[in-house]
Amino acid sequence: MANKISDETIEYVGILAKLELSCEEKENAKSDMEKMLDYIDTLNELDTAGIKPMSHVFPVNNVFREDIVRDGDGSADALANAPLAKDQGFKVPKTIG
């Protein structure tokens, strides 16, 4: 077990992932992540010096198109699945105090 995940790291990951974790979940997450990272560390056996990271197999280019107005989702459609909506907008808790 080379990797050790600290309480602070799990706390930080929880913030990044926007997850509220119970104590039990945190402990499990720590040991799961340690095991996974130990396994992932086998990649260090590979010499990848000078190899360019490949995000897509084929070249991915910006796809340009003319800026033409289309009938996209109307507001009724866009709001159809909103947990809460008000006045043609998504209703959320107060954002600025």
């Binding site: 926007k18 509220e20 990649l43 990848t48």
Partner: protein, 503 residues
């Protein structure tokens, strides 16, 4: 012949010849679904009403000469991570338990243009994260060959539904083997096309650089015909590719003479179940007898595919799933304190354990200080894996591999040790990393009577070669339905009937 056991093309032909109507076909599938679903649980949503209305509309279209293609009037089941307008699309998650998309995925639209009739949405591992369909919020799907075993995953619902004759074909998605592995476990045929062949528009993203939509069916011909229907260049998906060579049914030729087949030694060594290995090598012999040139070779880097895959897929998942925050669609927590806490509570209550695990891993490997060591390292490994395949395909037309190291595991045995479950993806994930096409065809059964599938892998855009080889093999071995298990299903259906007090 029973409508439910017909292939999609047979059914389509009879509908075109007016021996059957689209409505009768839909009704037959719905009746079969009603009979076996208490045991199989392959569907999250069965849209009986919508399917019958659509079947009537399609029949009219057939009568009026609007729908003339091979899939007109044929029922199809769609994996629940493909958006279907007005029909629940849950991704197997509580998070999307109430989500009714206002549009349909491009692949679904293409099928609808071909006159297919969507009868329901199939069960899957939550957000396609899993290899057994046990991480679904809507209960595990059972393997039609033995309901005590998993169907594989994540497209387990699609593959089980096709194997159990609930529908002649289905759509699945494959990020790390999610079509090919459950096809193997359920004894059906499934294709993961070259990345970019089928539009991902309307496919709820898991690992965007790896995800592909593909067909599942009971014959190679069906798969080729369905792929032909769903493949399209789509401006709404910037990774969609315009392909001129989309005549996949043209590859249905019983001829492999001179075809160079590579057998990666590293795929047939330690960790591969003896019976699976024997069945696949037997199938390779069959192809060799038909004139294929078979040779072993070292693919190399095999052991690095899974760690690279889980870094990349989790990283992309952590980003893709950030959209589920309780604002625009899906679940919102009932109790929270302010906006930020609402996001957190919603996600903590809406996601299951496996999804959280991958989001956390993904967030970690992308975080400052670890990005280079993990994420970029994985992308460099991916480049090397792609290179290894490139040199293999300089020598071979296709590569033959298992789809999974074993046949379908028993229910409840896999989720205990996630890392061990991930290791089961050893033969499938590198195909996604390299963007290659792969097809699984059933080649036999193990001593327990569970299906064994063979995976044929092609170079990018070489679907035609793997389809041809799969078709040639299929000519030597008739499709076997879990027929012996139809008694078992009926018996189990009876049990469940008793248990649930007359469901």
């Amino acid at each position: 012949m029973d409508i439910c056991s017909m292939t999609a093309l047979e059914l389509g032909k009879r509908i075109r010849q007016r021996e059957l109507s689209a409505v009768e076909a839909a009704e037959a599938c719905l009746a079969r679904i009603e009979a076996v679903e208490p045991v199989i649980n392959g569907f999250v949503t069965i849209d009986a009403e919508g399917a019958l209305a659509r079947a009537r509309e399609v029949q009219k279209g057939i009568d009026d000469g609007i729908f003339t293609g091979p899939l007109a009037g044929v029922p199809v089941a769609v994996k629940d991570n493909l958006c279907t307008k007005g029909v629940l699309t849950t991704c197997g998650s509580k998070m999307l338990g109430n989500f009714r998309p206002t549009f349909s995925a491009e692949a679904v639209r293409n099928l609808e243009k071909a006159g297919a009739v969507v009868i329901g949405k199939t069960n899957m591992d939550e957000f396609a994260m899993g290899s057994t369909t046990e991480t679904s919020y809507y209960g595990a799907t059972k393997n039609p060959w033995d309901p005590g075993h998993v169907p594989g995953g994540s497209s387990g619902g699609s593959c089980a539904a096709v194997a159990a004759n609930e529908c002649p074909f289905a759509l699945g998605s494959d990020t790390g083997g999610s079509i090919r592995q459950p096809s193997s476990f359920c004894g059906v045929i499934g294709i993961k096309p070259t990345y970019g062949t089928v539009s991902r528009y309307g496919l709820v993203a898991y690992g965007s650089s790896l995800d592909q939509v593909g067909p599942v069916a009971r014959s190679v011909s069906d798969c080729a015909a369905v792929l032909e229907a769903i493949a399209s260049h789509d401006k709404k998906d910037s990774t969609s590719i315009r392909r001129e060579d989309d005549d996949f049914t043209g590859a249905l030729v019983d001829e492999v003479k001179g075809m160079r087949i590579g057998i990666p030694k590293d795929y047939f060594g330690e960790g591969l179940d003896r019976e699976v290995k024997d069945q696949i090598l037997h199938a390779v012999n069959v192809l060799e007898e038909k004139g294929a040139l078979v040779e072993e070779f070292d693919l190399s880097l095999v052991q690095y595919a899974i760690p690279a895959y889980y870094v990349i897929a989790s990283a992309e998942a952590s980003s893709n799933l950030s959209r589920f925050d309780g604002v625009k669609y899906g679940y919102r927590a009932e109790n929270y304190d302010g906006l930020h806490n609402m996001y957190k509570m919603t996600r903590s209550e809406g996601f299951g354990a496996e999804v959280k695990r991958r989001i956390m891993l993904g967030s970690f490997v992308l975080s400052s200080g670890y990005y280079d060591a993990y994420y970029l390292k994985a992308l460099r490994t991916k480049a090397l894996i792609k290179r290894a395949f490139d040199s293999a395909f300089a020598r071979f037309d296709i590569i033959v591999a298992p789809a999974a190291p074993t046949t379908a595991p028993e229910l409840g045995k896999s989720l205990i040790d996630p890392l061990k479950m991930y290791l089961g993806d050893i033969y499938t994930v590198s195909v996604n990393l390299a963007g290659l096409p792969g097809i699984t065809v059933p080649v036999g059964q193990d001593a327990k009577g569970l299906p064994v599938g063979m995976q044929l892998i092609g170079d990018c855009f070489a679907e035609n070669k793997i389809i041809r080889a799969a078709y040639a093999f299929e000519q030597t071995r008739k499709y076997e339905a879990p027929g012996l298990c139809s008694d078992r299903i009926d018996a189990a259906a009876g049990e469940s009937f008793d248990r649930e007090g007359g469901r």
